[in-house]
Symmetry: C2
Subunit: 208 residues, 2 copies
Amino acid sequence: MTELPDMTPDRRPGGRTARIRAQVLDAVRAELAERGHEGLTVEGVATRAGVHRATVYRRWRDVGGLLVDVIAAASEIDWQPPDTGSLRGDLTALNQEIQESLVVQPSLAVALMAASFHSEQAARAQTQLWTDRYAQCEILVERAVERGEPGVGHADPRSLLVAATAPLYHQMVLLRAAPDPQLPGRAAEAAVLAAAAGAFRVRREESA
Amino acid sequence: MTELPDMTPDRRPGGRTARIRAQVLDAVRAELAERGHEGLTVEGVATRAGVHRATVYRRWRDVGGLLVDVIAAASEIDWQPPDTGSLRGDLTALNQEIQESLVVQPSLAVALMAASFHSEQAARAQTQLWTDRYAQCEILVERAVERGEPGVGHADPRSLLVAATAPLYHQMVLLRAAPDPQLPGRAAEAAVLAAAAGAFRVRREESA
């Protein structure tokens, strides 16, 4: 869902500024994935990017600024949520995407989560990205409502989406379990069955 | 569930070794909560505990050793999962306990999670503690089976427990949302409804 490993920075042809940004953010991602947040330095990024340190300091100021811009770049990608024809299929595909981003070694998604525990700037940027991605995914629930799938008409989309995806993060990031190829589908199924049985109802104070 | 903020170290009367351990681990918890993993040093812990640095180095070696022992001390607590008379009630109570441990400022539980991203030792110890706590909580599902609650007889207890609790960690730790007093009950309800509708079925390969 964050799809960080596949993100491609803005590479508008002809823009020197855009080109330098792309080089620098590529370097941040590579350093972050290889060395983690603790090993990330402006100097290391500048060297890897082949860009003057002064340029990096001027534009991004510090490691926090680099992290924020990596996350901002992820939010600029034209990411589209899956569209498989059923809510269960969509949530399964979404969970597979999440699982892949967490399993890949080194995982930029995990490195950014780790960084967000230590950088308030990175934490705020990441929370914003996740909030945006969940908002984008609400269309999965809207489409299910249009198709007349059971229970979803009364469901708060965000609560349903969090229930469907949270077990992936919990197992992979917090419990550090081995990847389970069945988990994406099972977590999706549980959320869809719970919705059909009346869970995730919109609360009165939310709909006001 | 981790119940870290309330944990009381081993204070067997008369044991000087136990007393020093209690002082040192109290100091680790206080330093961790106030300064986070990055601010944790053997020197700071020794000073706060009023114990010779050499003693701390000899027994715990380094910050990793201190973190592991704090987590080990948590696993030594006589923690008991809730017993309210229904699975939904038990899971709600469990989630309330989890939410409290994550909301309290400063949260030792969150500090330990942050530390586990940077210390392989701490990560392994924390995974073991969580695995043990989930194993302890399986009795919630067993009691529900004995009471004849619907769906739970076919459910894999661990999958059900992870589905019930994961949204709490996801919202509070990863999405950094404001605490939602209704979330413990809503997440519990969703897991119970999903189980009643056939989710979390034990898989053939697991029961073999």
